[in-house]
């Protein structure tokens, strides 16, 4: 019996890799396993090699694995590209149609299943993914009923006949391979899962769900990889809640529409990736200057320009922290798990109203699109805080304006929504006085700049630093952000076996930077390594600038478009000078 296993399916884009993966993992989730998915895809819609990998485990995991146990291949290219990941004694399930061969030097067992032929027998080659997944499921010796239930849900809306045919395809694939193998493979027999109900979703779905829980009822956005799933999820859900999604003409319209809607009182968000974020910059300044709440999600991908649109990167950090001309208060939060994606959206909407500032939620492609198991979300913990929003302003004398930008001790002013009887005031991106009227007075300018910029002094978000500091004076402090946490923890396990002690901090509050909280940890560690998916060490730059310790800090950078593998982190940490 084993506690974990890695499974991968590869083929041409558009060949059913996605749906196979979906059914396979839904069934595993029902059985209570912890899953971590990774999608490798090109930006072509049809054609081009694509593969999905799932790591299956009886205990929580948050990283892809280095190696692979089972590879399901629809073509020889999938074998050639992925077989090197197979651990010795691994299995390839491939379509007999292309006369699959195991590449030289790879020790793997090949099952050539007449995948296409069987599917065609049943009426359409479209069902070959069902034959293939049935075969690989059977090799694991897992109960077929659970799998069939997932098939039923996937195809249910196409009618009973289609469901039946697909289930038959699964059965034929399973029977064929079991006969060849002489029954399920013992070395792939997974321990039973803990049976606890988990959720299984991508980060973008958790962001969508979190937004709904936060009271977001409008989204304005322009499609882009890897952010589009957020709008696609919300447009399915918002109508039932009275809200909607507007697909705008560009990201400038998306962000300014969101600003207009937030100004008028609806929690509204937009989401994009680097190119869209770049277009939003001027408007982010408007939100900062007019103290209008705003929530933006940036799902980072490979930059610059169009860059690597379907690949992993964490290179928009500086753009998020520094973007927009002039100086405004702004919050940047980086969720580091599916759970964070959910809870951080609630926090982002709350912070945006409490401080009346733009909040950027930063994810990366792997976090946004990687499908993972996560703990059920706690409904009771959802709290909505609208800060100093007031329903009605006190009655004023004729022609007097409500002081929307009243100078207060904490810099946050009472806010009233358009429509309120006595709340009339002006809002402008031009420097303004307490009532919002343009003002060029030097004294006013200084007061207003200080008011805005001091609002976030001392801000500490929930888990701004996620600290795993079991060692008082660790050999190594590893710092990361976003989706890399699980990979780092996996590497730390291996380092511990080699006698290297390490602590791990995930920086979640990217801006304003949690300097004070971080310094003691930097002090304690003998060495510090900052791990990030970019070429210019942007996170390390923030740490050095705010907290110092430049002499201790090393960087491990990866910007080839792929997430870090645990082995890479392990190796780099071992070899640290």
């Amino acid at each position: 019996m084993i506690s974990q296993l890695s499974w991968k399916i590869g083929g041409q884009q558009g060949e059913g890799v996605e749906s196979t993966d979906r059914i396979f993992s839904t069934a595993l989730n029902r059985l209570g396993y912890y899953l971590y998915g990774y999608r490798h895809f090109s930006s072509r819609i049809k054609g081009g090699h694509t593969n999905n990998k799932i790591r299956i485990s009886t205990y929580p995991i948050r990283a892809i694995s280095d190696d692979l146990d089972i590879l399901v291949a629809f073509d020889q290219e999938s074998i050639d590209l992925n077989a090197k990941e197979l651990r010795s004694g691994g299995v390839i399930v491939a379509d007999a149609k292309f006369n699959p061969v195991v590449p030289e030097g790879i020790d793997a067992r090949l099952f050539a299943v007449p995948i296409t032929a069987m599917a065609e027998e049943l009426g359409t080659s479209l069902m070959k993914n069902m034959v293939a997944s049935g075969a690989s499921w059977a090799l694991l010796g897992l109960p077929l009923e659970v799998f069939n239930k997932a098939v039923e849900e996937e195809f249910g809306r196409k009618g009973a006949a289609v469901v039946e045919k697909n289930i038959e395809a699964v059965k034929r694939g399973a029977e064929f391979v079991l006969e060849q193998a002489g029954g399920p493979l013992n070395e792939f027999k997974l321990d039973e899962a803990d049976g606890r109900q988990k959720l299984f979703m991508i980060g973008n779905e958790a962001i969508g769900l979190g937004s709904l829980a936060a009271g977001c009822r409008l989204m304005s956005a322009y499609p882009i990889t890897p952010a589009s799933e957020i709008m696609e999820y919300l447009i399915k859900k918002l109508p039932a809640l009275g809200g909607t999604v507007v697909q705008t003409e560009d990201e400038i319209a998306a962000v300014t529409m969101a600003i207009g809607a937030n100004y008028a009182g609806v929690r509204t968000m937009t989401a994009s990736a680097g190119p869209g974020l770049s277009l939003m910059m001027e408007a982010i300044g408007l939100a900062g200057m007019t103290e209008t709440p705003l929530v933006i999600v940036d799902t980072q991908r490979g930059g610059p320009s169009t860059g690597l649109p379907t690949k992993q990167e964490q290179s928009d950090l500086n753009a998020m922290v520094y973007g927009t001309h002039g100086e405004i208060p702004k919050i940047v939060i980086a969720p580091a798990s599916i759970e964070d994606c959910f809870y951080d959206m609630i926090e982002a909407f709350n912070l945006s109203e409490q401080y009346q500032v733009p909040v950027i939620v930063m994810t990366d492609l792997q976090l946004s699109l990687g499908k993972q198991s996560c703990e059920p979300f706690d409904f009771q913990s959802i709290q909505i805080n609208r800060g100093k929003l007031i329903e009605e302003a006190p009655e004023l004398e004729a022609q007097q304006l409500f002081k929307r930008y009243e100078l207060t001790e904490d810099g946050v002013s009472p806010r009233v929504l358009p429509g309120a009887k006595h709340g009339i005031h002006h809002v402008t991106g031009v420097e303004h006085d307490e009532t919002g009227r343009p003002s060029e007075s030097a004294v006013n300018r200084q007061n207003m700049m200080d008011k805005r910029l001091n609002k976030l002094n001392g801000l500490q978000i929930r888990d701004g630093l996620r600290i795993d500091a079991a060692n008082e004076t660790p050999d190594l402090l590893i710092i990361g952000m976003g989706s890399t946490g699980g990979t780092i923890d996996q590497a730390r396990e291996w380092l511990a076996k080699d006698g290297i002690t390490s602590n791990h901090i995930t920086i979640r509050q990217i801006h304003p930077f949690p300097t004070e909280q971080l310094i003691p940890h930097l002090q304690q560690a003998k060495k510090v390594v900052v791990i990030e998916n970019n070429a210019t060490a942007q996170l390390a730059g923030q740490i050095k600038m705010h907290a110092g310790f430049a002499e201790k800090i090393r960087s491990l950078l990866k910007y080839d478009g792929n997430p870090f593998l645990p082995s890479e982190v392990y190796k780099a940490c071992k070899e640290l000078d």
Binding site: L209, A213, G243, A253, V266
Partner: protein, 288 residues
């Protein structure tokens, strides 16, 4: 009921004496009173330019945004609170140069807002450069030998983008302008009102007198039918866009708000934010 005086505030406009924008401000104030609005029921969203300052000169909720983006902001306001009357406003550069993409798509989208363009055929605030509305050959600081680009026809563009309300007026004709703004506010969909608004400081060609000599009022054509799209398009072309009055109105097409699936008649901003536990559980169940 509020009178137009209640839409005035005590801010003194920084427009040059004689600027056409003053009359547009007055017309908005009068129209708002005439349709029975209270100041707090109106939101004026403006762009950047001399014209863009207008939102600060009317006693109503006002947002002065960024250059070219008045329309998407205004649409956001309307989506959030459809009980508000929303007027978007700005210059010809704001709406037809930097913001042209938004203008076309706002027209297509057809939210129930009124867009008033203060068209002076020049960039006023930046002190006299060419605009998409400048005539060919028009000499400005940025086109010292005369503009060599063709003049944009916002009316034709609006028609071809599927506009449901297209009107044009002249800032000197306060009566017509006020009536058109009233009609625009009442129209249930997007209304575009392009207003010739002379810039007395930087545009010495398109002056008050020049407009008086060159525009034709649609009233002169008793058979004109603003519900006839072809007639409207013909008239715009015949007059080379120098016509005033209600050019086209389609009362059949529903507004965007009325077509959004599940969108209520009340302000979205007034809805409860929290999900019920039942709603929440239903959403979560999909991920099991």
């Amino acid at each position: 009921m509020a009178t137009f005086k209640e839409f005035r505030n005590n801010v003194k406009p920084n427009w040059c004496p004689g600027c056409g924008d003053f009359s547009i401000q007055a017309a908005i104030q009068r129209a708002a009173a005439n349709v029975g609005l209270e100041p707090e029921e109106l939101a004026v969203i403006s762009g950047i330019g001399c014209s863009g300052r207008i939102s600060g000169y009317i006693n109503a909720y006002g947002l002065h945004g960024i250059h070219g983006r008045a329309l998407p902001i205004a649409q956001g306001v309307k989506l959030a609170n459809r009980e508000l009357t929303v007027i978007a406003s700005g210059g010809d550069g704001d709406g037809f140069a930097i913001g042209m993409g938004h203008t076309v798509h706002a027209i297509r989208r057809n939210l129930n807002i009124t867009y008033i363009v203060m068209d002076n055929q020049i960039y006023g605030l930046t002190k006299g450069q060419t605009s998409p509305r400048s005539a060919e050959g028009f000499k400005t600081k940025s086109t010292p030998e005369g503009s060599i680009e063709s003049t944009l026809s916002p009316l034709e563009i609006a028609m071809s983008a599927g506009a449901t309300f297209v009107a044009q007026s002249f800032s000197s004709d306060l009566k017509q302008l006020t009536a058109l703004i009233e009609a625009g506010i009442k129209h249930e969909g997007f209304s575009l009102i392009n207003v010739f608004s002379p810039c007395v400081t930087f545009n010495k060609i398109n002056t008050y007198d020049w407009f008086k000599q060159n525009i034709v009022n649609l009233e002169q054509f008793p058979d004109y039918d603003p519900s006839n799209r072809i007639m409207a398009m013909n008239k715009i072309m015949e007059t080379e866009g120098m016509l005033t009055g209600l050019i086209y109105q389609n009362t059949q097409r529903k507004s965007y708000e009325d077509m959004i699936s599940g969108f209520g008649a009340d302000a979205l901003a007034k809805q409860e934010l929290s999900l019920s536990e039942e709603q929440f559980n239903k959403l979560v169940a999909e991920f099991k």
